[in-house]
């Protein structure tokens, strides 16, 4: 796979932004109301139209822009802004992706510097030029939220030279080990990056390294449970 198709696979694998509960819990209002409900409706219509692909994007862009402007200082407005940032991907062929992405990122950083949702920005880093990516991620390192800082350190580390990379991964292991990243932790990710199986350990004739994990239902599962059986181990994705 080329890095472009990989990045595309990564984009397609991203679910639409999760619905954001409104900022302040309002005990008296039973049904979701206001920006959160409006956003959920917009996201549902987007999903029904086929999700984050070029055509739905073209149709929904104006609606998301209007929503972001209307609720510019709310968390729901930020969700819409982050969606628009992610969708800059579709402008990569006319050469405006990186410029637009940087503009949107700067506006978001200025307007919502303290939001936890900025972790998404670290996740959408493929829309930036290399220089912008480093600058944006560096800014995210001063977030008040460990999840955002952890994501920024993790994404910066991946692109560093070996020595700096190791230092940053060890920092994640030391200070962000239990901080969640998607459905795992920065500790588990850093550990994996610091101790990958060497390619020669994965060759024919080598004992298969143990895998300790959980299955899709959350039950513990390990590769050695299947010792005594012939096993086909298939790394796949349904995206």
């Amino acid at each position: 796979m080329t890095s472009t198709t990989l990045a595309l696979a990564a984009i397609l694998a991203l679910a639409p932004p999760a619905q954001v509960a409104d900022e302040r819990p309002q005990a008296d209002t039973p049904a979701p109301d206001g920006p959160a409900a409006e956003l959920a409706d917009l996201q549902q219509r987007l999903e029904d139209a086929g999700g984050s692909l070029p055509e739905p994007y073209a149709v929904f862009k104006a609606e998301f822009e209007a929503f972001a402007a209307k609720y510019t200082d709310r968390e729901a407005g930020l969700t819409a802004k982050l969606w628009l940032l992610q969708q800059c991907w579709w402008q990569r062929e006319d050469g405006t992706m990186e410029t637009n992405a940087r503009k949107r990122a700067d506006a978001i950083l200025a307007e919502h510097p303290d939001s936890k949702q900025l972790a998404r920005m670290a996740e959408y880093q493929y829309v930036f030029s290399a220089k912008d990516r480093t600058e944006v991620l560096t800014k995210l390192r001063s977030s008040p939220h460990a999840e955002v800082r952890g994501y920024a350190i993790y994404e910066l580390a991946k692109r560093e030279k070996p020595e700096a990379r190791e230092t940053m991964l060890k920092l994640l292991l030391k200070e962000y080990a239990d901080v969640p990243c998607r459905l795992t932790t920065f500790g588990a990710l850093a550990e994996a990056h610091l101790n990958p199986h060497p390619p020669e350990a994965l060759k024919n004739g080598q004992p298969a390294p143990e895998i300790l994990g959980t299955d899709v239902d959350g039950n513990p599962m390990k590769l050695s449970d299947y010792r005594g059986k012939v096993v086909v181990l298939d790394f796949w994705g349904h995206w």
Partner: protein, 108 residues
């Protein structure tokens, strides 16, 4: 892989064989629904929701599907095999495991 996986699991239901998946999808729910729709019966490791999960990272997985065939002793015997080539190696390894079990019995 689904149609082939399904037929492989069905054909080898009586054998000491297991198909094990590893999924880089975003959420367990998504995989559960897909498995239901596609009638997938085998277990999969869920890897943190994304293509760069801890297991995939340790195994250096960068393209999908990535396939390993492991014998009954836990040794990697083939990689990147698909279709008929996969069927053939699996059948060979099943025969090999049976032959060894037979030798052991005779040796006692």
């Amino acid at each position: 892989m689904y149609p082939h996986g399904r037929s492989l699991v069905k054909r080898l239901a009586a054998e000491t064989f297991a198909l094990i998946g590893h999924t880089s999808d975003d959420t367990p729910q998504f995989v559960q629904e897909a498995a239901k729709e596609e009638n997938l019966t085998w277990r999969s490791f869920f890897d943190g929701g994304g293509t760069g999960g801890p297991i995939a990272t340790r195994w250096g997985v960068r393209s999908w599907p990535t396939i390993y065939v492991i014998d009954a002793k836990g040794v990697i015997r083939a990689r990147a095999v698909r279709g008929e080539a996969m069927d053939r190696i699996v059948d060979e390894l099943l025969a090999e495991a049976k032959a060894e079990a037979g030798t052991k019995r005779r040796g006692r």
